[in-house]
Each structure stands twice: as C-alpha cells, then as structure tokens.
Symmetry: C2
Subunit: 249 residues, 2 copies
Amino acid sequence: MDSKQQLLQQSIAAKEIFLPHISADPVIFGFEHNELKVLLLKTNYRQKWLLPGGYVRKDEDLDEAVQRILKERSGITDIYLEEFGVFGKKNRSEFHFEDFDETLFQKQRFITVGYYALYSPSKFHLIPDEFSETCEWVFLSKLPQIEFGMDHYEIIQKALFTLRQKISTKPIGRNLLPEKFTLPELQKLYEAVLGKELNRGNFYRKIKNLGILKKLEEQRRGGAHKAPDLYSFDEENYIKAMKNGMNSW
Amino acid sequence: MDSKQQLLQQSIAAKEIFLPHISADPVIFGFEHNELKVLLLKTNYRQKWLLPGGYVRKDEDLDEAVQRILKERSGITDIYLEEFGVFGKKNRSEFHFEDFDETLFQKQRFITVGYYALYSPSKFHLIPDEFSETCEWVFLSKLPQIEFGMDHYEIIQKALFTLRQKISTKPIGRNLLPEKFTLPELQKLYEAVLGKELNRGNFYRKIKNLGILKKLEEQRRGGAHKAPDLYSFDEENYIKAMKNGMNSW
DNA sequence: CCAAAAGTGTTCTTCGTACACCCATGT
DNA sequence: ACATGGGTGTACGAAGAACACTTTTGG
C-alpha cells in the first residue's frame, strides 16, 4: 500500500474516531554524546520530518491523547509531558497535503497543542508506526539541515526555549541520565540545555547544595586521567526541589 | 427573547462560522483598592459567572480570535494576551447546557485555550454583549463566594499562578497602573500579585536598580502625611527589562 | 613522572534581608 | 508638635563569579 492510499484509508476512520481541528504534538528531548536530540518521524508521504503528533479521540481527555499518540507512533510509554504552547495560525499546514482534496481528514485546519518531555533514549526501543518510515533521534545541531513539514521546526524551537526557562527554576536530569552518572556528565547536560559553558567549581557547589544527589561508593573507571565519582539522584529531595524551585544558573 | 431562545439562535449561526470543539478564554486582571480583580460575565442563561470566552472563526488565527472575542464580549481592545494553558478534559462542561439536546453548538465538547492579560480598568467602559447580563470586575477575594460555570474557576487559578511566575522574572505594572503612580502603589500591586508583604526599603532599591522608572517632578498631594513622589515607566528600559528578565522577589 | 581531568578551597563582589534613621505633611 | 507614612542608609549574611590549588588516574 503506498503512502497516499494509506492516508486516505486513515482519513475515513479518523472522521469517526477523532475530534476535528485539534491535534497534539509531543517534543521529546534526549541527551547523548553531550548533546541534546529530539525524537522525530519521517513520514512516508512527502518525506518530511515531523513530530510524532496525532489527533484527540472524541472520548478521551487531551492529556490522555498525547500519551496514547506518543505510544502509538514511537513506542514510548510512561512519560511526563508538559504543555508549553498552542499553535493556531489558520494556514500553518497549508501546503502539507496539497495532493489531496478538502475531504481528507488530515488536510483540515488544525490547532495543535505542544507538549515537551525529557526522556532517556536507552530505556526503550523505538518502533515507528505504519505511517512512518523511520523514528529517529535527531541532534539539535542537525535540525537546520533537515526538512520539516508544516511549522514543526518552530514548535521545537519554542519547546527548547521552554526547557531553558524550566532548567533555571527546577532540577533536570532525572529522566535524561542513566541511573548512575558523574558530575561532569550532569554538567554537560546543563551546558547542552543552556547552550553555554558553566564554571566547574561553581556548578559542583550549587548542585551539591541542592541536596538532590547521593554520592555512590564507586567511580567511573576506564577513561583517561582521574576517575570521577558516581552519583545517583536522591528521589525524595529531587521531588522536593521540583516543587520548591530555586534561583537561576 | 429569553436566554434559551437566544442560545438556540446563536447555535445555528455558530455552526457556520466557528470551528467546532475549540474555544478561547481570556483571564483579564485588573488592580484597584490594592487588590487584584478579574473580568467576568454573568450569563443570562443559568446565571453562572464565566470568563468572557468564545469560539474561533474558521478563517482567523487563534490569536486573532481571542482579541475579537474579548472585544465583542466586553469592549476591551488593544491588549496583549498571553497563552498560559489548555484545558481539555472530556467532560469539563458536562453539566452546563443540560437543558439542551446534543445538537446545540455550545453543548459540544470544547477544548479551551486560556489567555491572560493585565489591564487598567479605568481606561475603558465595559460593555457586556447581548448574551450577558453584566460584565464586571470581581475581586479575587470574592471569587470563592460566587458560582462559576464549568471549570472556569480552575482556569483563573492557573492564570493567577502563571502571573505569579511571570512577575518573578519580568516587570509588571505598565498595564495595571495609571500613567503616573507612586512607589507605594507599585509595591501594593506586587504584594497583591505575590500574595505576601514586601519590605519597603528593599523593594524601592530593587525596582530602582531595574532602571525602568522615571521620577517625575511632582508628588501625589491630598493624602495624609508625606506626599509620595510620582513616577512613570521608562518605555525603552521597560521593554528591555521585559526581554532580559531578572531574578526573583 | 607528567599531563589532564576531577574535585576542593579562597577571594571578591553582588544581592537579598533586616532594620534604623531622617524627611515631609496634614491634622 | 507629632503621628504617620515616605524615602534613604547601613550592616550582615548568603550566594554567584572567577580562579587557584590539590588529588587522582592512565600513559
């Protein structure tokens, strides 16, 4: 079945099941090789990269919808998503389905709700859905070089901006790093999100004063030079710090 | 024409003009007598208080929609609105139109987008639309005593929370205070938003260091005791401060 | 033993907090 | 003149910024 046939078929079912005009788009961030990456799908149709978004069922809450969509399109489950913006320009998807007539469900005007989340890529196996060729992590530095459908690049930009705001008041890392990690690794994560270098000494002191870390009785061996200490997050204090907030970086 | 007839009539036109399932609700904050207030409408139908929300035309951007809605329902124009949340529970308006059958446009499931803004009430004359009995500023302290339709109380709560977050990083007051104002007045505004008292001396120093104020060559006469100096905002620096942000209170 | 990275300590400055003091005005 | 609120100054401590120093490891 080619991709156009596939979309037409989906369209018929969609009209029954989903609310018209409303969609949700999750922006999932990951961290690897000291760089941030985003989860994207390359659709069979038109070969453009898109966020793994979808539609809202008539009988489910919006929150439930995003969770389901993400699961169906990528295989990711159990992830905390946070709304960060609504994209409602009337012609935001104008040229995306130009091969189809107006009866296609997917072609109608959509107002989309953006959600973002942080997720550790190692935790699961990506499974693209039937409409997508690939489901891939794409590094932020590569984004300007790939071709997006609709306004999805803009959506990612805003998600990233929101993440930067967030890191200034709440701790980040619990979902992006493995169980055990080193302080230099955590610092690299913060630097990747903020897009600037941080002073080592000051970072160490500040993060330790937050009290969200537990120092383990082991080091990460294997690298050249001094072996760094391993840490894990102190669940209880981490949750407290999430609520209370802090100052800035 | 009674209120039920009115709603039925509106329903017919609405199906032509508006997108289904999507609405926008503006939460407009004002400041008077050292207290915050919110702009609300009391609908003819069912006598519940509601935000002055409405629907999105098929041929307008979402941003345009909120502006138009607010203008039509209250008379307010030229105001900067900022999205703060989406409310999409499937049964959020379940009991609101129970006197009607499912064909009523207004009764369908709506996912609503919340916008908030700050506005100086003195600047305009409130004009309720034809569907509303009154268009009124209601003080925050009175909110628990009035009866809201749907989940609009919850929406206001989140708007207020967002405003508190915002005041911590960006200056506030430009839209909420008259052209000329005194530092004690500004401080009262901050205290009202934050819900706690601030130290006078520290507030003065901090706000002055922001450089967003212009001291005028006059005082506010008439009150008892010492006449306080009048200030106005320095447009240029205010806008800068809006962009740059600052620390916390 | 040395280079390089990890971890700690020191100093300076900035900024928030608390509070004291002076100033101006209407009663 | 004096009580009251407006405006300014000061002293202390916490926290950020910059940087020096020590420690540990692999080569």
